[in-house]
Symmetry: C2
Subunit: 122 residues, 2 copies
Amino acid sequence: MKKDIQRILRKDITLKVNGSMWLEGNGKRFFGPGPVELLELIAETGSINQAAKKMNMSYKKAWGIINRLNEHAASSLVLTSQGGEHGGGSSISEEAKEMIIFYHELRNKFSQFLDKETAKFK
Amino acid sequence: MKKDIQRILRKDITLKVNGSMWLEGNGKRFFGPGPVELLELIAETGSINQAAKKMNMSYKKAWGIINRLNEHAASSLVLTSQGGEHGGGSSISEEAKEMIIFYHELRNKFSQFLDKETAKFK
DNA sequence: TATCATTATATTTTTTAAAATATAACGATA
DNA sequence: TATCGTTATATTTTAAAAAATATAATGATA
């Protein structure tokens, strides 16, 4: 039982069971909390550039994440255009929005699991 | 439903939901798969030095992990001695063994969850 | 056709993490 | 008291990751 574990640790420290979850394609991670946030910010700002800035991430790194995402998808999850009125911009596909919802649902289930395990230390 | 997500991704890519889990003390991670393996190898080899080598980890890093572990525990999880017949050595406490079992049980439950979610892509 | 902010990409620089190296202390034993 | 392999610790070096910088291309619009 968990009570034993709590006994082992210092009582003045607040314990939490935490974790992370992601999707792997052929064993390689390509979709997790980072990519999800990036997709959400691209949808919000209409620009990879601005989305990256909001995450304090270089454009190049953001671009790499997006590339990997698109490579794993049947059709591009991020639609880009260059030139034009505001120099271009980007948006995310309907499928990308489904991916975001999927992740949040998965993470919510996981969070419940984590909370349940953490509660055993109370 | 998950079938929708599978539709979005390339069919020639094998998907897996994967993740990691750890214990945080006051919001800082101190116990996870790495520390568990290190404890197991110290128990097996009787030496921090050899355990670190088996993990292709520098002694210094191993020592840092052990320090953090001990700081979070009511009593030291790794017992060390220097000098003597073989220069000294290390062992792990009964409590450390309980921590190892605890983590494996937790990880098993998590793995079941991950497998269940992965199975939805089949 | 000049301008604009963006995408796309390569190259350089910086930062961070890790590893490697070095040194001292340790204590049982020969 | 010399030796051993270890713990403990600081310092230096290396490697990896990230960021910064630079440049070209893009195309709607004024």
